[in-house]
């Protein structure tokens, strides 16, 4: 049995070299480097929280528990995830669709710089204890306006890098008429589209509500609306994390085990469903809240549950890939 699968492994021409154009690889590499730097800092925050909660250490007076919690949340949930995903998607697009054109690559870099500028601004404000508002930053808890500007740069920067990946995919389709496009591009497109659509919500609350209010231009803020806009982003955010993981399951795992994908059309269907169902479901984070009627909460519950369908497809597909390869 062991022998057989090893043979299959070899017969599949497994090539260890990565095959990403080095110029594209550089941008992807920087995404991954920042991702893991944020990861390291973030888990350090988690360790400190655990130790101080458990009474093992006492935090110094200049370091607040919620300050570390905010750093932990922002660095792990927003910075690490977004950077590692962008590194993965960018490298993968170069690998499967060929090198990016210099113009697209340049746009990618501009987005990277914008995102990193935003990350830097937000991180500095958190470390200065001017933004201990957790990664959900619910109004009317208020952070320094530089924190909010940092968030805007972060989101807009990811859009700017997202666009060359979309253009790269559609250019490939145009130059290869009639050929089935690599699944990686299809899935990347769905993921980036989801991210752009989701980001509109957080951009709207930060630009339209939080910044004018943090700058003192308005003194009132519609709290429930800001929460709805935040979760319009915050829920699809988890699909933005899950979709690259599913890409690994659908595309990388079959290669690694020397088998093949169970069904490409079902994989595509799963991604289209994710994109569609991601848009209207953020309200389920407000189920226990006043100001939203029970009827809408029930509608939101249905929409949230329906998301299980692409996951059911995925679960079957993964196991089937394993079983088929095992029985080869």
């Amino acid at each position: 049995m062991m022998n057989q699968s090893n043979l299959a492994f070899k017969n599949n021409h497994y090539e260890p070299e990565i095959g990403v154009d080095p110029r594209d690889g550089k941008l992807a590499f920087y995404y991954v480097v920042i991702a893991f730097s944020a990861f390291l800092l973030g888990i350090l925050g988690g360790l400190l929280q655990g130790l101080s909660r458990g009474g093992m250490i006492e935090l110094p007076s200049w370091l607040g528990y919620y300050q570390i919690l905010t750093a932990h949340g922002v660095l792990l949930a927003l910075v690490f995830t977004t950077y590692i995903i962008y590194g993965f998607l960018y490298a993968g697009m170069s690998r499967t669709h060929g090198a990016f054109s210099p113009r697209l690559r340049k746009t990618g870099w501009i987005g990277f710089i914008l995102t990193s500028l935003g990350t830097g601004m937000a991180t500095v404000m958190i470390l200065a204890n001017e933004a201990s508002v957790l990664y959900t930053f619910y109004a009317p808890l208020q952070a320094h306006y530089i924190f909010y500007f940092g968030l805007v740069f972060f989101i807009v920067g990811t859009w700017v890098t997202g666009i060359p990946m979309l253009v790269h995919y559609f250019k490939w389709k145009k130059t290869h008429p009639g050929e089935p496009a690599p699944l990686f591009g299809f899935m990347t497109t769905a993921t980036i589209l989801l991210w752009i659509i989701a980001g509109l919500g957080v951009a709207a609350t930060v630009i339209g509500q939080m910044i004018p209010w943090a700058l003192g231009m308005t003194d009132e803020i519609n709290v429930v609306l800001s929460r709805s806009l935040f979760w319009y982003f915050g829920h699809p955010l988890v699909y933005f994390w899950i979709m690259p993981a599913y890409m690994v399951w659908y595309l990388v795992v079959p290669k690694v085990i020397g088998g093949k994908l169970f069904s490409a059309s079902l994989a595509k269907l799963a991604f289209v469903l994710f994109l569609l169902f991601s848009i209207p479901v953020g309200f389920h984070h407000q189920l226990m809240e006043s100001g939203i009627s029970v009827f809408w909460k029930y509608v939101q519950t249905i929409l949230t549950f329906v998301v299980v369908v692409p996951s059911l497809l995925t679960a079957f597909s993964i196991f089937a890939t394993f079983e088929q390869t095992g029985r080869e």
């Binding site: 050929e179 690599p182 490409a264 079957f316 196991f319 088929q324």
Partner: protein, 51 residues
């Protein structure tokens, strides 16, 4: 680019010529499915017991 042929092969919907049994797949997904199913009712009954 030298890899693109490998990539496109993936993308063509696979017509399984030699259908292997997927019994194990069915067992596994149903195992997970029943776990979710049972958990859902356990939580629902916890809610009811607290009313």
């Amino acid at each position: 680019m030298q890899h693109s042929d490998v990539e496109t092969k993936e993308a063509t919907p696979l017509k399984e010529t030699k259908e292997h049994s997927l019994k194990g797949t069915l067992y596994f997904v149903m195992f997970i499915g029943s776990f979710i199913f049972i958990s859902w009712f356990v939580i629902y009954f916890l809610f009811l017991s607290r009313i």
